[in-house]
Symmetry: C2
Subunit: 608 residues, 2 copies
């Protein structure tokens, strides 16, 4: 069911609060530093920001004064007044105030939206005077006093280019966290502090999961042997699931001729994310940003009857996106990554079933890994702006209705976003919340596409022997393996479930005399395919236990006199820090079962 309920209203109220607070931030900044040039300041998922061009640099030291000024403005209980100005009056208004960025914005609005007027909002002080004006479309609180002064906090400053263009002015961005209540702000700050401790870049280094190398290049992380194990386990798992669910696979190259991407439209619509082209054989090659064009060619290589559909072509396809080199880092902001990509070609009557299949697979994958807090967002087209979209209105309605039906059949709550669809089709996004309440949009599940099958002239032969164009959906569950692993490292604080842990068991013989038995156990476990390390008695037991904990090995097995005599093992569960004694056979069969069943939580050492 669509959420038209209280949670939507709450989201709307929070949006207004944060947007209004951005006005307050800009007003305060102008008050403290009058020569400042203002630009834009949108709400974000934990508050808002505003980009300024200051006359002299500001720093964290200025935060208390700025916060104080913001609170003062809020206490004045200012209200908002909406003004509609002709473009020329608005331009004059901002020119007079020496705000060149606002003038530029007005020129762009007039040009792009073909309008003759613009809207701006003035803050009105307690005595009716205009205290601040900003160019915006509205969505404010009625009165600034609605903003709780103890529920926001200036977080940080950062550099940002005007319009994200590195050739333009470098601005200063001020981030503010803002929530409806003080308790929520405090929870957010606590989560943030906690999350910083488990930054995947730090854990990745400590656990030897991946390698960033200056000489290889920015945004091109490599998975080291221990990180590669995690990816292989994820790959094996989803490959198994996909085979069971009737997917087939393809292998396609990482490059393709520029003509391929002209045909697909990527060179026109996605150019800024594509690496500079490579000139070879009097031709141009593209380092592939997406796998779809190659999969279209695979589909086309064989004739298809209506009985062969759906055709589900999956690939773990490595793609490259030309992110700015200064903006990449770790596993989550990269230039090269591998998608668990798939393209489904189907008949219209198969669509609902396919959508449900994708949703079902997504929930299965995410829940198995301990992500249980989701938001679903259904991105729809805006019928008022028909010309922005390819494909007939009838097809759009059908696709959107089918997406709704599938969500309904699965009894899922979701939010609708009119006008949020891509030009080529509607989609469902799944947003997961991690252990620190941060939101991540990982996969696309699914994205309908009317554009690509038409551009590639795909067809199938229907039951009457006629050519029909199949419907296509893109979908990726993990999204990018690299990014997903980065998020997962933080979400589980480096303590992976047993089946995913790069090293699953450490064996610690207490002394010399226990090494023989320890090696027997090691051999036994290795034969079963368990990933074991042997920590010999060169170091003290305490030190070895600390080492095992630091490496976040799920189980540390201690073998001493009693264990050898009684054919037991002392198992230390590194996550719970609990220690239990279990018979060897029970230990082996339990971990084998937990691995086979991909259990999220360990079965041994939950309680002593």
């Amino acid at each position: 069911m669509a959420k038209n309920s209280s949670s939507d209203a709450q989201a709307d109220a929070l949006h207004k609060l944060r947007h209004s607070l951005a006005h307050v931030l800009a007003q305060a900044a102008l008050k403290l530093w009058p020569g400042t040039k203002i630009t834009i300041g949108p709400p974000i998922d934990y508050g808002c920001y505003y980009d300024f061009l200051f006359e002299s640099p500001i720093s964290e030291d200025d935060f208390p004064a700025l916060e104080k000024e913001m609170k003062k403005i809020i206490h004045q209980a200012q209200t908002f007044r909406r003004d509609e100005l002709s473009a020329s009056n608005a331009k004059k208004f901002w020119k007079d105030r020496q705000q060149p960025f606002k003038v530029e914005l007005i020129e762009d609005i007039v040009k792009n939206e073909r309008v003759k007027t613009v809207t701006q909002y003035a803050n009105i002080g307690p005595t009716g005077e205009e205290t601040f004006v900003d160019l915006c479309r509205g969505g404010h609180v009625e009165n600034l006093k609605e903003i709780p002064v103890d529920a926001f906090k200036i977080m940080s400053v950062a550099g940002a280019y005007w319009r994200g263009d590195e050739k333009r002015e470098q601005l200063t961005r001020i981030y503010v966290a803002a929530f409806p209540t003080k308790v929520e702000l405090e929870q957010y700050l606590k989560n943030r502090e906690e999350a910083a401790k488990y930054d995947h870049r730090v854990l990745g280094r400590e656990m030897h999961l991946f390698v960033l190398s200056e000489i290889v290049g920015p945004g091109l992380p490599m998975l080291a042997p221990r990180g590669a194990i995690i990816r292989q386990e994820l790959e094996n798992w989803i490959r198994e699931e996909l085979k069971r669910r009737g997917y087939s696979f393809a292998y396609t190259p990482n490059i393709g001729r520029a003509d391929l991407y002209k045909k697909s439209g990527h060179l026109d619509f996605f150019r800024e994310n594509i690496f500079p082209l490579l000139e070879a054989d009097d031709s141009q090659y593209v380092l592939k940003p997406m796998n779809c064009p190659h999969h279209m060619e695979v589909y086309k290589s064989e004739p298809h009857s209506y009985r062969d559909l759906p055709v589900r072509i999956a690939e773990f396809g490595t793609v490259y996106r030309y992110e700015k080199s200064g903006q990449v880092g770790g596993l989550t902001r990269v230039r090269g990554f591998t998608q668990d990509d798939a393209h489904i070609l189907m008949r219209p009557d198969q669509m609902q079933q396919e959508i449900e299949g994708i949703l079902d697979l997504s929930f299965h994958i995410y829940r198995t890994l301990g992500f249980n807090d989701f938001t679903l967002r259904l991105s729809l087209h805006d019928p008022a702006k028909r010309k922005q979209y390819v494909g007939s209105e009838e097809n759009w309605r059908m696709a959107e209705e089918t997406l709704r039906k599938a969500l309904g059949a699965m009894k899922l709550s979701y939010v609708e976003g009119v006008g949020e669809a891509a030009f080529y089709g509607p989609k469902i996004d799944l947003i997961v919340r991690d252990a620190f309440s941060r939101e991540w949009q990982l996969g696309t599940i699914p994205q309908v596409d009317y554009n690509m099958p038409a551009r590639f002239h795909l067809h199938y032969i229907d039951e009457h022997g006629e050519k029909k164009q199949p419907i296509m959906m893109h979908r990726a569950i993990f999204g990018s393996f690299e990014r997903f692993i980065g998020v997962l490292i933080e979400h589980c604080k480096g303590l992976f479930p047993l089946w995913l842990a790069p090293v699953q068991i450490a064996i610690l013989p207490v002394a010399d005399v226990h090494e023989h038995a320890a090696h027997d156990l090691e051999a036994r476990l290795k034969k079963e395919g368990i990933r074991v390390v042997f920590l010999d008695h060169a170091e003290s037991l305490g030190k070895r236990i600390r080492e095992g904990e630091q490496q976040r090995i799920p189980y540390l097995i201690v073998l001493g006199d009693r264990e050898v005599r009684e054919r037991t093992v002392t198992v230390r569960n590194v996550k719970t820090k609990k220690q239990v004694v279990v018979p060897v056979e029970e230990f082996v069969s339990t971990i084998m079962r937990d691995i086979r069943e991909r259990k999220l939580e360990a079965s041994i050492g939950i309680s002593t």
Copy 2:
């Protein structure tokens, strides 16, 4: 043991025969077409070729005359005379004869080898006259009459650039097949004709294994769903073997900064095989031609103790080589391919064991797939040309001795090739002979490398706490998955062993009434992970059997009244064309075992 025996002498005699025949070919061509410019003509694995610049084009129609002239020359029982000329005299000799390519060759020999004289051979006719002269280092038969006139055949003409450089003259290459006896020539011609029937490009299309797309680009084949199954099975198998043998894995990007390849030396020594560089961020990127530089960075990212070695880093790494676009085709001559690559970093005392491990794995892999005819070639350095090689003479001797020891310990015959080593280390090549007696060098097993660890300053800490440089070996068993699959398709004539077959079983119910039982069997097999197709009774049984045969599905299962009643299946083995009736349970358990054990030959339907 090294083959210093009869087979070596035979190979040498055959080499002399073929090399001499190339002289005969050139002499005959000059006789028939006097203005022809001659270049070079080396022996090849089935005969020899010679590259000419003809004044007017020649074709297959000219073969009879050319062959006749060659036989005439052989019948004249000409002998060879060796002449040593000063470079200037030699140049004058060829200038006078208007043979500019020979003049260019002499200039290069003088420049590259820093010599002042060159050797050439004159053919001497029955009356002592000079009949033909060629610039060469020798290795001829004593008398041309040793060449059997009924054991050679002109095969084809093809275009070839002078020195393989597309900016230079386009020449005409004439290929000649030549063997010691008529019987061997006939066998070769028969094999060749047979092999052409099973060309992997034809079978690949018929069986929907891979896709070549003009718009994706030349030499960039894509594996379609059925071909992808073969690659996945090969990947799963070798991954399992590698894990058992203590390999770890890495995932590295397909690009790297040019600095990385300057450091590795590839940009200096391998430039012509690298795609044009890609300019990004005021930097240059290389589409990776090899995985080694990335693996060096992975090794370096952690400290290593002597106890951690050997470190074996494997990756299914996709690499790109800039082959000429006109020279690529199918799966065997490509620009983009995926290697089952690995790099082993080890202590000197671990080398023999590692070499034996690689050889053992290689033989296991090749034999399982039905390749049983091997030649091993040990490529050694030439101590007389020490300056050509990096690394100390002591290290070279040690490495070569260790390679010999490993071959000896495994009781393997091999041929030694002095001067055949790469500049960075000695290696063993494994040459396999396929079902049509064609030789393929697929993998490298192994290649010692003294260069890369030094360039990347790799080290480990030895037992005395001192930094030591590890020895490194490259190795790839399949070599390239694409090329290997191409060779395998032809070797097994499209009839893959059950475990590798894209579709393993086709189920053919005789009529309507058998469909229910047939679907039950289908579901049963699918649940076990067997790849099944259902060929319903819309077509006649005969037609469906022919379809199954054409798709080269190993087993066709017929279900009729008797089978349903008796709980049996009629199994048609498509390879043997034999048909047997077996109980359902026996059929299922037998195919499950054959798949699990990766049996080369089917167990059912060997005899009726």
